[in-house]
Amino acid sequence: MTENIGSTLVAACAALENPITVFLSEAVSEDYPYAVYEADYEPSYDKDGIYKIVGELAVRGYSKDYSEAAALAAAIDDVILSTFASNGYTVRQVSQLKKECLQETWSVGYQYRITQFRN
């Protein structure tokens, strides 16, 4: 089993009616708004190999406008909680991340614990 939490998140956000561009770790765009996630994965094993992967994901929406960043974070929250609610995943929103404004760019986001199970 291989981890696919991050790619599933990116694909789900890209498939929205108003697609959201999601980057891993570092944005490679100045075309706001966009989202960035950071992830830390830990696999668990039984004798048949990996049976689950627990991912700690921090996902932030970035925009020059606070309201837009907050709306982006809320939209991503809906995507994550619906996408990872079934089909071999479980998801919990762990906490809200500190709202930040750096170089006139707002970021708003949440932290999640997403578990991917072996099918």
Binding site: S44, Y45, D46, K47, D48, G49, Y51, V54, T90, R113
Partner: protein, 135 residues
């Protein structure tokens, strides 16, 4: 070197679902005797061995296949009586010696914690009196 996941136990020619750890323990069965010629000193002889397998695993709600015993199968075996309670055991080492015997399930426990970070688990013990290297 053999990695741990390559050493497994089979019950009734099937693997157990979700196993995270197997343990094997061999204990001698002794018999004490004393006769006048022993001049008051008890004699102790090993007359056999009891092999105990302890298996820890994950409760899997997806069920087993034709080659895997799922948790419902294990409960059925643990609750069996008479001849139905006797299981065939094979302790398999990858590229190494296998050991065979017959045994009975002497304990089955399921643990289902409330913490969402913890997995529901089971533990199983099987005792065997006749384990021997398979030919």
């Amino acid at each position: 070197m053999t990695e741990g996941y390559n050493i497994r136990i089979q019950v009734n020619d099937m693997y157990l679902i979700g196993v995270t750890q197997d343990e094997m323990s061999i204990s001698p069965v002794t018999k004490e005797s004393i006769v006048k010629e022993n001049q008051g000193v008890k004699q102790e002889a090993i007359v056999g061995h009891t092999t105990t397998f302890s298996i820890s695993g994950l409760i899997d709600m997806t069920g087993g296949s034709g080659t895997v015993l799922d948790n419902d199968d294990l409960i059925a075996l643990a609750a069996a009586t008479g001849d139905d309670a006797v299981v065939d055991l094979v302790y398999v080492r990858a590229s190494g010696q296998a050991y065979e015997g017959t045994g009975v399930i002497t304990g089955y426990t399921e643990t289902n914690p409330a913490d969402p970070e913890e997995d529901p688990t089971y533990s199983l013990t099987i005792e065997c009196e006749d384990l021997a290297a398979s030919s």
